[in-house]
Amino acid sequence: MGKTKLVDLAKTIRSKNAGTDRITFDIIFKEKEKYELVKKSGVLTRETVANLFSIPENRIVDFVEFDPAFAIKFTITRLQPSGSFGEGDVFGCQQYPPLYDIEVPAID
């Protein structure tokens, strides 16, 4: 059974502040089939995402499969509000790249 990386299936993978206390991640697909494939594969869940970013699951405050846009979306809390002392990404827009390499098993 072959595997494909998420970066090769999704049209958009992005992150961005959702208010000052949260960062939200969007994975959007062009084709319904690819969206359904990833949705059913179980590689993107609260648990896998928490593991990938090494955060406790309670930092994931929303996890939504959004059918109208063929999109999977989740939101995490920040440890301190955006733009605080020691900030590395004021807009939260460069936190998504680790999602690229998630491997999605193909359906035979």
Binding site: D21, S54, D62, F66, A69, Q80, P81, S84, F85, Q95
Partner: protein, 442 residues
């Protein structure tokens, strides 16, 4: 509400954050050609962090703000239709409202415009007003699982704005305003207000605000600062891209519902919540998406208003050091421990803050970075030092940066300095502030 109801109104949205980067003119003029009923734009964001609100300054450049306002003012006055701006100057503080009002007055003179009615409202909330309420037992709820506001937190807050819903905008329209400059506002309400004022239902009004507030971010392909037009009727909202290279598609419009929001189904504003869970998206024509099924759910009980507060943390400096030696890169944590220890030796009272971000390792992601071992052949270390006074902040940052150069590693071969400097100095930057966003009942 107006006495004569319209069955359809059109609104142009030229820019998702007026002034942050200039409005693209071609698509704006194409949109203006269609003679929209309203020119609306939001100028605010909490993306920019707590510094502009705390320091009472804009993140946007004044020339860009002037440019964007001037485009809208000239076209709306030519047509004699209202122009509505929310969250003046990024933060919507009183000084930012005054600045935008001055810009508009200046433009009126410059272009010799016929007299028109200019309305504006302020959003700053006096700390003493909140203190009195709190001393009288009123609770000020925390937002996003924050705890409720305490008097100590209030003391540490420098400046507070309240985020307006549709209400002050509708009031200004009822008073006959031609141009409205709003203080801090929910972006969607800048658009929803005229729709409600014209007598159309709240369901379509708030949805139109939600979809239009970021201008061309609801279009594809990606391209910011281009105009879009929303046409609102009793039943639906149709949104059309004005830039010749863009389209509003089911995917781009539905995708935009998720943008910058924790959840794609709900949008909260003063007075209620927009429920998009049953929205239906249709491709109306090649460049237009039609949306139906949005619902506005008015709040049960007292209205809640979001307050945004920013508190002064300290004076701040920044330093930068580059590292190329592979042995130093491998032991970078030890280097930073050394530099920290040297600052601690100089300031044993610990009355300062010192941060290191190591670019090439985990400078962007910090604790979220899954790659623990850097493969980079060079690193940039960004040092941020904060203290109560500028002199201390400068010295903390200077020692914290310079000691990267003097790092003591047992086997280092480069004994003439372990860091490369772009500048052998530290730079004063904006004071540090922290966001203290809260919510209260009214």
């Amino acid at each position: 509400m107006k006495k004569t109801k319209k069955s359809k109104i059109s609104i142009i949205s030229p820019n998702g954050h007026l002034g942050f980067a200039p409005t693209k003119e071609e698509s704006f003029f194409i949109g203006a050609e269609t003679k929209p009923d309203y020119y609306c734009c939001d100028s605010g964001s909490d993306d920019i962090g707590p510094v502009p609100l705390g320091a009472d300054k804009s993140a946007s450049h004044p020339d860009h703000q002037y440019h964007d306002l001037e485009l809208m003012l000239l076209k709306s006055r030519e047509q004699n239709v209202p122009m509505i701006i929310g969250s003046a100057g990024d933060t919507g503080t009183n000084s930012r409202v005054d600045m935008f009002v001055d810009f508009i007055r200046d433009m009126a003179k410059k272009h010799n415009l016929k007299p028109f009615k200019l309305a504006y409202f302020y959003s700053e909330v006096d700390k003493e007003y909140l203190r009195t309420k709190m001393l009288n037992g009123e609770k000020i709820e925390g937002l996003n699982s924050r705890s409720e506001l305490t008097l100590e937190e209030l003391d540490k807050t420098t400046r507070i704005v309240a985020v307006a819903g549709v209400h002050p905008f509708i009031k200004a329209l009822e008073m006959g305003a031609d141009v409205i400059i709003g203080g801090r506002s929910s972006d969607a309400c800048v658009f929803a207000a005229p729709v409600i004022y014209e007598g159309l239902p709240e369901n379509v009004a708030y949805y139109s605000g939600k979809v239009l507030e970021c201008a061309s971010f609801c279009c594809e392909p990606y391209g910011a600062k281009e105009s879009v037009i929303g046409v609102v009727t009793n039943e639906d909202v149709k949104v059309t891209a004005m830039a010749p290279f863009q389209r509003c598609t089911i995917s781009s419009v539905a995708g935009h519902a998720m943008y910058e929001r924790s959840n794609p189904y709900y949008e909260y504003v003063a007075g209620g919540c927009l429920d998009m869970s049953e929205c239906v998206y249709e491709q109306y024509d090649e460049r237009t998406c039609r949306i139906t099924g949005a619902k506005f759910l008015p709040i049960d009980g007292r209205m809640k208003v979001k307050l945004e507060g920013s508190g002064f943390v300290g004076k701040r400096f920044m330093g930068m050091a580059g590292v190329r030696d592979p042995y130093t890169i491998k032991n970078i944590d030890q280097v930073i421990d050394w530099a920290r220890s040297q600052v601690a030796e100089r300031f044993p009272d610990g009355n300062y803050k010192l941060s290191y971000r190591v670019f090439g390792k985990d400078g962007v992601m910090g604790d979220l970075e899954p790659i623990k071992e850097t493969k980079a052949h060079e690193l940039l270390i960004v040092v941020e030092g904060v203290a109560d006074d500028a002199k201390t902040a400068e010295e903390v940052t200077l020692i914290g940066t310079r000691q990267v150069f003097y790092a003591r590693l047992p086997e280092v071969k480069g004994t003439a300095g372990t860091a490369a400097f772009i500048l052998d100095e530290v730079i004063p930057i904006s004071d540090a502030y922290i966001g203290r966003w809260i919510i209260r009942s009214r």
